[in-house]
Symmetry: C2
Subunit: 425 residues, 2 copies
């Protein structure tokens, strides 16, 4: 899937994945790039530390001198990136040193999401805590892109006020869209919204709720996968994040990095053929996964389509019926999970990911989907006998995309604190 903007970062898991460009290879090391590097080093160390470290702890862990660490920490405190906290009582001798934590009233990220049947906004602070969230549930398909974006800007304005009230400074906005997005933020195609070549930054960029800070537009499954990556344990994660909505998207994390594809269009799991001669899909092909396991396909199979319920209420109804063992619902979920398992088995045979994350509406349905998906993987994955695959619901649930979007903004600040410091001075 595609992607955009200046605030994006791809390996923001709090670990140091190699030094910046100027510190590796054959380029000379400038003094300024050394400071940039070291600011990031200190900030990442504090972000990843299990307890608030002191300046001395940071010096010991990074190999920098205490004087250098102190100067860097002072800059980071002035820039609202770090805060000093009272030290834990010590039993040993000497005055205990103040500990450092990521600032709770510093820069924050505004995450926005457009989906087929809802709009969402949230604010996430530097430590990754969600400080504000709002969802507006309504089918967006009857509206023009401009109308949808006007509705979204209203949510953004409310979120911006909430951030200001909490003394947070928005460092940027990331918008999740269920479609193919170019690096410039153009939505090339969002089949389930009926959008084609919608210039989101062009329409939204001048809106008072969004101007003044960078705007990034990205595919929702990609942002959700990044959210999932950062919410999980650090390490070289290899997983397929599946965003089950009216459309089905995927974010592919390989060796701890989101893989976007050669042109930025990776992750179109919903259009992987399951039965090549199956029913026609909105994309023009036949038998795509979406036709069997998309939210509307599931509701239709369960006999819950056209009841006039909102999609959200319909999913809640579906969960209730599944809970009570309703045969039509159980059969619908088994059918969807079988198709999902067939498509995912192809992915695992091809990519050998070790984890499959069920996101979007699949998260609340995971208890019923998982056994059948796992059964298909056992049957169809060549290495299933000795290299099993974990299938689990998303940690972030249905909020993964919008939280991942906001998180991508603060991750960029954490990865490149010097840019933030330069921007605010």
């Amino acid at each position: 899937m595609a992607a955009a903007g200046t605030t994006r970062t791809e390996r923001p898991d709090g670990k140091i994945h190699g030094a910046p460009q100027a510190l590796s290879g054959d380029a000379p090391v400038r003094q300024a790039s050394l400071r940039e590097h070291n600011l990031g080093l200190v900030l990442r160390h504090v972000g990843a530390a299990p307890r608030p470290p002191s300046r001395a702890d940071i010096a010991a862990a990074t190999g920098l001198t205490r004087a250098t660490v102190s100067a860097l920490v002072d800059d980071l405190i002035t820039g609202r990136l770090l805060t000093e906290v009272d030290p834990a009582p010590r039993t040993g001798a000497g005055r205990p040193a103040a500990g450092l934590v990521l600032a709770a009233n510093g820069p924050a990220g505004l995450g926005l999401e457009i989906n087929v049947d809802y709009l969402a906004a949230c604010v996430v602070d530097l430590a990754g805590t969600v400080r504000h969230r709002a969802v507006h549930r309504a089918d967006q398909r009857p509206h023009s892109p401009a109308e949808v974006l006007t509705g979204l800007a209203r949510l953004a304005a409310t979120a911006r006020s909430a951030a200001a009230t909490q003394n947070l400074a928005l460092a940027g906005t990331a918008l999740a869209v269920p479609g193919l997005v170019t690096a410039a933020g153009l939505v090339r195609l969002a089949p389930n919204l009926g959008w084609r070549d919608v210039d989101v930054p062009g329409i939204l960029g001048d809106h008072p709720a969004l101007c003044g800070t960078p705007l990034t537009v990205d595919n929702e499954a990609n942002l959700a996968a990044l959210g999932e990556l950062h919410a999980g344990p650090p390490g070289p994660a290899n997983f397929l994040y599946i965003s089950g909505e009216i459309g089905i998207g995927a974010g592919i994390v390989l060796h701890g990095t989101l893989f976007r594809g050669a042109r930025g269009w990776s992750g179109e799991l919903g259009h992987v053929p399951v039965h090549p001669d199956g029913p026609a899909c909105r994309c023009g092909s036949r038998g795509c996964l979406e036709q069997y396991a998309g939210q509307e396909a599931i509701l239709r199979a369960a006999g819950l389509a056209g009841h006039g319920l909102s999609p959200d209420a319909a999913i809640a109804d579906l969960v209730e019926r599944a809970d009570s063992g309703d045969p039509a619902t159980t059969a619908a979920l088994t059918g969807a999970a079988t198709a999902l398992g067939v498509a995912v088995a192809g992915v695992v045979n091809l990519l050998d990911v070790d984890t499959v994350v069920l996101g979007g509406v699949y998260a609340p349905l995971a208890a019923w989907l998982r056994p059948t998906v796992e059964e298909q993987l056992r049957r169809r994955v060549l290495t299933a006998g000795w290299s099993p695959v974990t299938v689990r619901p998303s940690v972030l649930g249905g909020d993964a995309a919008v939280v991942g979007a906001a998180g991508s903004v603060v991750r960029a600040v954490r990865d490149h604190p010097a840019r933030w410091l330069a921007a605010i001075t």
Copy 2:
């Protein structure tokens, strides 16, 4: 797919993809690692240069001093990695300087391949030129692993003699196997050979034709994909290499690097489900791609199975019949290409690779397979309208795996010349 040994390298395309570990990140730079780095820098520069560069050219291009370059070049010449050639006549003033090329009588790689219906060996020199090749065509399935490996060792002994006659020094051996291989060279599973947990280095390691230099065992599609990567233009390639044999494997190159998966089992394209309720596969599943597009499935569909022809002769016969427009053959190839196109459309929707390389027996059949594969991609890939995918035969043809195997050995020498120099002194 999995992989093994000490000589493996993954980004050996003659370009510098970041400095060695000790020159990046937070580690101190030792003098020895600086020399290692610079030896590689000089060797890669010569390997990638369009014309034989002089010492002065190398100094200018790398930023190293002329004295340093001269010392490094002397070491590389002594170590049989570089050779001086006569300079081109110059029109300007001054004595023309000697040019440098990769040594044609220095280290070489021995590539071996076990496939279901043949064994192969080849020797590739430092410049990538194939200096010896041999193929022994015979169905390997009636034989035990030990018998197969004995036959392979005979080919290896002949190749070793051929290398010695040409004044080449074998730096190591890489063996391509159509199966799942662990990092230690254990063949966990090669379904079409009927192999399970075969300890290839244990059986082969002490053989006189192979002992004394490192032995690497890897999946054949992975080695073929690496061969294809190095045979192609430099740059951040994103392609799916498909190895069509009795089994169907794939090597996935993403951003110029072979992607092996979380556990080393990537690339099992042959077991991607095409028709989930289709015919039973040897793997225990149903409707796998191999059942529609594997070599034996094609021959069966064309009415050429059981004619007592060797697989090789059968493919030659198939090509001849396709050339003459034989309807059964055309239908068989269209059927195989349709299934292949369905599976590959899923891959492209998921990974957004921009190129699909048809290797193995698909290379000579590409003229008949390609139009149908491309038609399926146009129908089934969501972004096909504006981001087309190139489908082309392998540059290395049926030899890709064995040439890629030998090439992987010399690439390791080119990437880490200091190791080679240390090993021979």
